[in-house]
């Protein structure tokens, strides 16, 4: 089940989030010494001491001056050149580049690549940090709103067995409307302008709900071989993408929101389930828990860009800039993909049966629900720490599923 918040809630929460999170000094408590093979490490001399360096984003940072992983200061000699140490062993076997920072960015980031080239030419730059880190804001506790008003958002929930969508107010927390839709509704999404909700029903239908009246204004009945499941709406609100959870007709329906008709279909992996657009809407990422693949589709041409073999992938979340994808994978993982190169760069271990994942505003936290063991996991991306909460199961035995942030 996927829950979506309305635009009003997003705008309301934005205030706090923006004021608290936007202008925060960079901080990283990552244990970078564990990433011994990262090519951005190099050794130089600081105060005539061999020093292991790396980049934190685009900024050179001291990692260690004492032994750390493969780095042992005894292997290096700063006696001859205060800036360029010599390696006491064979240069070809040196575990780190000597005083030639390759820098961050990687090949997909041409400017980063160029930045590294420029910096390796020895341009000294400490002053710019004053500007680069502006504006500053001190860390402070968030003071949350306490009084309900009309700007609080609504939550939409699909009820599979009752063939309805429930609209729930969040302050006060109460049901506002129950809207009947075709059998087995699975996903609901709201257009960016907040006027329309779209609902997928497994049994061959896609519903359009006018949110001003809470009425279904149009039902798009599909061929019986199409089983609408996953759903995403483009950032401009002009297109909806719906997966058909089917192996014989494994495809994505591209729906024109104005005419509410199917524009075209895109062949994809068997049993496509989740559909998530990158923040700029340029790519659609399709998950297939049964196909063990994530398919990536270019929405300009509706052609396949690439695919990643990921075991029982269920859901995808992106950071706000679309440079990282976080994919829930069974039995118990969140796989991080660099969306520039489409390479897996990291894996987090979470609870059993992760189904849904969402990113907080500011890209600080990921929230993951795990149906199999009833836990919800928080991944702190700044501190690189994971915590979990055992959710209380209600009398009907429900488990956590679906996530929404107040933005």
């Amino acid at each position: 089940m996927t829950i979506r918040f309305t635009r009003g809630m997003k705008l309301m929460g934005a205030g706090i989030a923006l004021s608290m999170v936007w202008f925060v000094l960079e901080a990283c408590e990552c244990d970078e010494t564990k990433e011994q093979n990262f090519p951005g490490f190099w050794v130089t001399c600081v105060g005539n001491k061999p020093t292991l360096m790396t980049y934190n984003d685009n900024s050179a940072t001291i990692v260690a001056q004492s032994s750390a992983g493969n780095f042992d200061p005894k292997d290096w000699d700063c006696g001859h050149d205060a800036n360029s140490p010599s390696y006491k062993g064979s240069q070809s076997t040196a575990p780190f580049t000597i005083s030639t920072p390759s820098g961050p960015g990687g090949p997909s980031n041409a400017r980063g690549h160029q930045a590294a080239q420029a910096s390796s030419q020895g341009v000294a730059a400490y002053l710019p940090q004053v500007l680069r880190l502006l504006p500053f804001i001190p860390q402070a506790k968030i003071i949350g709103p306490t009084t309900c008003d009309s700007t609080f958002p609504d939550v939409f929930r699909t009820d599979q067995l009752d063939a309805q969508v429930t609209r729930i107010g969040t302050c006060p927390f109460q049901v506002k409307a129950r809207i009947s839709v075709p059998p087995n509704p699975l996903q609901v999404a709201v257009t960016p302008d907040g006027t329309t909700a779209v609902v997928t029903s497994f049994f061959n239908a896609i519903s359009f709900i006018d949110l001003s009246s809470n009425r279904v204004t149009f039902t798009l009945n599909t061929d019986s071989s199409i089983n609408p499941h996953g759903l995403a709406i483009s950032p401009d609100g002009k297109r909806a993408y719906v997966t058909s959870f089917n192996t014989n007709n494994a495809e994505v329906l591209v729906i024109d929101m104005a005419s509410k008709q199917i524009l075209t279909t895109i062949q994809t992996i068997a049993y496509p389930q989740g559909a998530t657009l990158t923040p700029d809407g340029s790519q659609l990422w399709i998950t297939s828990p049964l196909g063990n693949v994530v398919d990536i589709i270019d929405t300009l041409t509706n052609t396949r860009v690439s695919g990643r073999s990921i075991t029982q992938a269920t859901d995808v979340a992106f950071n706000s800039t679309g440079t990282r994808a976080y994919i829930t994978s069974n039995p118990n993982s969140v796989v991080v993909v660099d969306t520039g190169t489409y390479q897996v760069i990291k894996t987090y271990t979470v609870g059993q049966g992760p189904t849904d994942i969402a990113m907080s505003y500011g890209d600080g936290f990921l929230v993951v629900t795990c149906q199999a063991d009833g836990t919800t996991w928080i991944i702190d991306l700044v501190k690189n720490k994971l915590t979990s909460v055992q959710m209380t199961q209600n009398p009907t035995g429900d488990v956590p599923s679906g996530i929404a942030f107040v933005h």
């Binding site: 205030g15 005539n48 685009n58 900024s59 420029a118 910096s119 400490y126 001190p138 860009v305 489409y342």
Partner: protein, 558 residues
């Protein structure tokens, strides 16, 4: 090595080659750029012009070793690699100039379709994914010496037909001198893109601005030597400002603004000087030992995308000492301020505020050792600058957030200060006094909400102290496309207002309706005149203190 071993090695090599060749080519996401400007596609002028050279990146997109086109006529296949430009049913072939496993440079054909299209690589019989590209009639990029689209441009000072050195801080140009600017993206040509270009002015309206002053154009067209490459020959205006990093940009079609590069203007053949902190410039260019102890108070009004407007203030310090390397093209975006009365601009794929600095900013020269942390004594007592950040003493003194969120712990109040250094291996002891004045007032700050990118933007202020220098810095970020742009305008000495020309705003990404998807802010940065005092210590060639008042305001760029 025996023959058998050599044969085995050869077999293994061939096997690996076949395997490598058989891997599907993949164009990376958001990896198509103008080859000169590297302007992100997410910015208004981040398109690729018909007839221009573009670069893109990926994996398995070309052969090993790389292949380069060295003679005319050029072909549409190079090293077994071809590049398609696809728009619907229309497919045209780009002209590859350089192909390697991870990067391709090619000419966007003059008959490429305008608008949104896709790039596709064909390696042997393997086709890559389609990667989006925006094609325009004209979108000019100026080549830069650092190869990244900023800093010193590839501009040749014309002295004689056989003496045209590249302009640099030590190879300055004079007003009235002819300059040849190299770039790509003026627009399509009527002849084939595959042959040696026919010299001649292209029909697109072309303007060059030097320090904000329009320069007379002598030629604007293809370079006869090089397909896809443009030359613009102009004369340095007589009223262009002098300096080491005088901004230069090209405007085509009356509205499309290129990347900004710099050129040095001053006495011919001598090293340039700047009108802002010339001692820092001298050290940076000449590689002498420099120390700075800088203090900032940043006060930002955040009133966009928030429930209630809130003012956030913070006091910070940064102190460092280093000896820069002497370079032919020294450039650092934060040191290379434009001359008073002129503006420059930068673009970046990434987060310019919180995530990424501009190329040239990261330190590579190791700091000089000035011993234990400095101590600063002022109206609110003494503080030790004990935090280290990025190889310098840099940290937070205190702050405040309005609306009762965080009570004030600000430290850098106006008054007299004494800074003490205790000496280290490289830098000796010192004690210096300086003043932090009442900051200037940005008089029209609170009225500034929507910035129309097509109109001049005036910023006004009052107060401050004698000798202060004011810079206006605007930053715009389009979060969904991960694209940033900024402008920096330096007010003349003694000014109380400055007007930002629309050209400086044109590459700022328009703000999104969802305020959470943009970060747009304008700062007024003031370097106090009375705060700049010598920091005299053994082991230093130059040293100074300085206080920056930074006043910010969130805005919409429209």
């Amino acid at each position: 090595m025996t023959s058998a071993a050599k044969a085995t090695g050869l077999f293994l090599f061939l096997s690996c080659s076949v395997i490598a060749f058989a891997q599907s080519p993949l164009i990376y996401n958001r990896a198509v750029y103008n080859a000169a400007s590297y302007m992100p596609a997410g910015l208004p002028n981040g398109a690729i012009a018909q007839g221009s050279i573009f670069s893109f990146f990926g994996s398995n997109i070309g052969p090993t070793p790389a292949a380069t086109a060295n003679s005319f006529p050029l072909g549409t296949t190079l090293g077994g690699v071809s590049v398609n430009i696809v728009q619907g049913q229309k497919v045209v072939s780009a002209i590859p100039l350089y192909v390697s496993p991870t990067q391709i440079n090619a000419i966007m054909p003059s008959n490429a379709p305008l608008g949104l299209a896709s790039v596709q690589v064909v390696v042997g019989n393997l086709r890559s994914n389609l990667s989006p590209v925006r094609i325009a009639g004209s979108a000019f990029g100026i080549f830069s010496a650092l190869g990244n689209g900023l800093g010193e441009g590839i501009l040749q000072n014309f002295i004689s037909a056989d003496n045209q050195p590249i302009n640099a801080p030590t190879v300055t140009a004079q007003p009235g001198q002819a300059i040849t600017l190299w770039g790509t993206g003026l627009g399509p040509v009527s002849f084939a893109d595959t042959v040696a270009p026919t010299p001649g002015n292209l029909p697109v309206k072309t303007e060059v601005f030097v320090g904000g002053v329009s320069a007379p154009i002598l030629y604007n067209g293809r370079a006869p030597c090089c397909a896809g490459t443009d030359q613009i020959v102009f004369t340095v205006p007589n009223n262009a400002p002098s300096g080491c990093w005088v901004p230069v940009y090209v405007r085509t079609g009356g509205t499309t603004v290129s990347n900004f590069v710099t050129m040095a203007i001053g006495p011919q053949g001598q090293t340039c000087t700047t009108d802002v902190l010339p001692q820092v410039t001298s050290s940076f260019v000449n590689g002498t030992r420099l120390a700075e102890a800088l203090f900032t108070r940043t006060t930002t009004l955040q009133d966009i995308g928030v429930l209630k407007p809130v003012e956030v203030a913070s006091d910070y310090y940064v102190a460092f000492a280093f000896q820069p390397n002497v370079l032919q093209f020294p450039f650092n975006p934060a040191l290379a301020f434009p001359p008073g009365g002129s503006c420059t601009a930068y673009t970046l794929y990434g987060d310019m505020i919180n995530g990424f600095g501009l190329p040239g900013m990261p330190p590579t020269t190791m700091p000089l050792d000035f011993g234990p942390p400095f101590q600063l004594t002022g109206p609110r007592g003494s503080k030790t600058m004990s935090q280290t950040y990025l190889l310098a003493q840099a940290g937070y003194f205190g702050g405040s957030i309005g609306n009762g969120v965080l009570s004030s712990s600000l430290f850098l109040d106006p008054g007299s200060y004494t800074l003490q250094g205790f000496g280290g291996a490289d830098i000796g002891k010192f004690s210096t006094n300086f003043n932090i004045p009442q900051p200037p007032t940005w008089t029209n700050r609170d009225q500034l909400v929507v910035v129309n990118r097509s109109q001049p933007l005036q910023i006004s202020w009052t107060g401050g102290d004698s000798g202060q220098r004011v810079a206006i810095i605007g930053i715009g970020e389009d979060i969904p496309t991960n694209s940033s742009a900024n402008f920096v305008c330096m007010a003349p000495p003694g000014a109380t207002s400055i007007t930002i020309p629309p050209d400086l705003l044109s590459n700022m990404p328009p703000s999104r309706l969802n305020a959470l998807q943009s970060k747009d802010i304008i700062y007024m940065l003031t370097l106090s005149g009375t705060s700049v005092q010598p920091l005299a210590a053994s082991g230093l060639d130059q040293g100074l203190t300085g206080f920056y008042s930074i006043i910010g305001k969130t805005v919409f760029f429209q």
